[in-house]
Amino acid sequence: MAVDAEPVQRRARRWHIAVFLAPAVLVYTAIMIIPLFSTLFQSLFNTVGGQRTFVGLANFMVLFGDPRWAASFWNALWNNTWFFIIHMLVQNPIGVVLAAILSNPSLRLRGFYRTAIFIPTILSFVIVGFVWKLILSPLWGIAPNMLDAIGLRSLFAPWLGQEGAALTTLALVSVWQFVGIPMMLIYAALLSIPDEVIEAAEMDGLTGFSQFFKIQLPLILPTIGIISILTFVGNFNAFDLIYVSQGAQAGPNFSTDLLGTLLYRTFFGFQLQQGDINMGSTIATMMFLIILVGVSIYLFAIQTRLRRYQF
């Protein structure tokens, strides 16, 4: 190997990198990172005898040592995992399939379908919570009657009120709401594949599914990676939907409690319960660490290994 000649001159300082990064880094650091980390910092403190005191990891010991806290935490973590699994298994495949179908250039009404399918995503949680509670309500009859129409009335149950079914039901509602996001991302990625490559595949006899799986999918794998990590991050931060439809206590019997709802309940307080900034920050720090691990795995192990193709 030729290592004979060191580059003789050094390249000029690349100020433009700093310029490109500066605005984002400044705004983001000032308004997001500093406030957030000063909050997370609170997890190392507690109020002892009316005095804010440094307590080291004591709050974490409480979170994991106290059976009540630990039970809430693990329950929320498990629920969250399940919530995430459903999104990965239902939301993302549906999003991919819809995008793949929509990306066919000869399909008519593409714009209409795309917009229609995306509409739920732009609704606020308040509407989503309201309408699904209305639809799924055993009282007002929309879902039961519709099931009745196809002879499946017996399948109906008050899902949102059942410990076993509530979380899955809400996860599916969330899937319904957010399918538009993977769909749009995949769609944008599919658009960047040059037409000729697709044509070559057609010549090679690859159409429909095989074309999708053998040509398009590998080319959009990085986007799928992004979507998975976004789903992960989104799900582990989720709280609004649960909050508006099941309340801060994430009923029934905490069966829909996610890390997000647990955090909000603890941090901001709820009803007679006072907000506990220290325990709240402790939970937030745990959430942060969980997500950080996930994102780091993605950034350092997966993203660098995913091949990207320039078009």
């Binding site: 000729e196 044509e199 070559a200 010549m203 090679d204 159409t207 053998k214 040509i215 080319l219 193709y309």
Partner: protein
Amino acid sequence: MTALRLENVTKAFGGTQVLHGIDLTVEDGEFVIFVGPSGCGKSTLLRIIAGLEDASGGKVFIGDQLVNATPPAKRGIAMVFQTYALYPHLSVKDNMALGLKQAGTPAAEIEARVGKASSMLSLDQYLKRRPAELSGGQRQRVAIGRAIVREPTLFLFDEPLSNLDAALRVNTRLEIARLHRELSATMVYVTHDQVEAMTLADKIVVLNGGRIEQVGSPMELYNKPANMFVAGFIGSPQMNFLPADTSGQGGATTIGVRPEHLSISTEAGDWAGRLVHIEHLGADTNLYLETKASGLITARVFGEVHHAPGTELFASAEPRHLYRFDAEGRTIAAV
């Protein structure tokens, strides 16, 4: 049997008419080459045959089947794209093998065919690389390999050799000729290379502005061009066109003479001119004479000839190699 028949095929992109009623019949096993100026519609026609583009009008028959509505994959064709269109995520080997895998060809057979193609195209050492790690010529060879491993009955080649060096180009050209013979496949081929066109084609189709100017065997086009366009297009350097009156040819407005049919003398000849530029190609030499009456005249002589630019030279043509064209540019049959 006819391998391919086009009936009045037209194509418009938006408002621009790109093909104006193309009629063409290609017999089974024939090697047909499309030539024509850049942008005349060769690639478009190829894409319509492949089914990648829908014709705006007219019919396309492959075998005896009307295929206007048949998807590309079902047309039994292979195509080499002008832009290569390799699968960026697959290795060279997989780029070639994908179509076969899709067709359910046994692994051993795939291995064999890919091996044969890659050794023929000198790609053996690159089988594991991805397209991004290949040079332009290597990519082009992969694109050719991808088409030939599939051994279809109809091949469509869009300028498959344009990025290859002379030696490889000759080799690949001979391989394609061999392939054509051995598979008795029908081939439709677009090229800008005169040598390729002349040596490979059973039949050359000269396109111009979306219309067919002439169809014929290479020597037919060379010797009996239907019009000035074809006469000028086939042969390189281009035929010299001279106003007819300067040489007193009755009935014709323009006469044409190919550079290789001009002989050069320092003493006397039909046209006198000053040598303005001389190109040495090794095997032959091109001389550019500036004549008073007829403008620039190109002459091509075999071997190395040396004249200093500025010299007064004379060019003469054998009468039997003169072409006569009427005012519309149509060839006037030899007198």
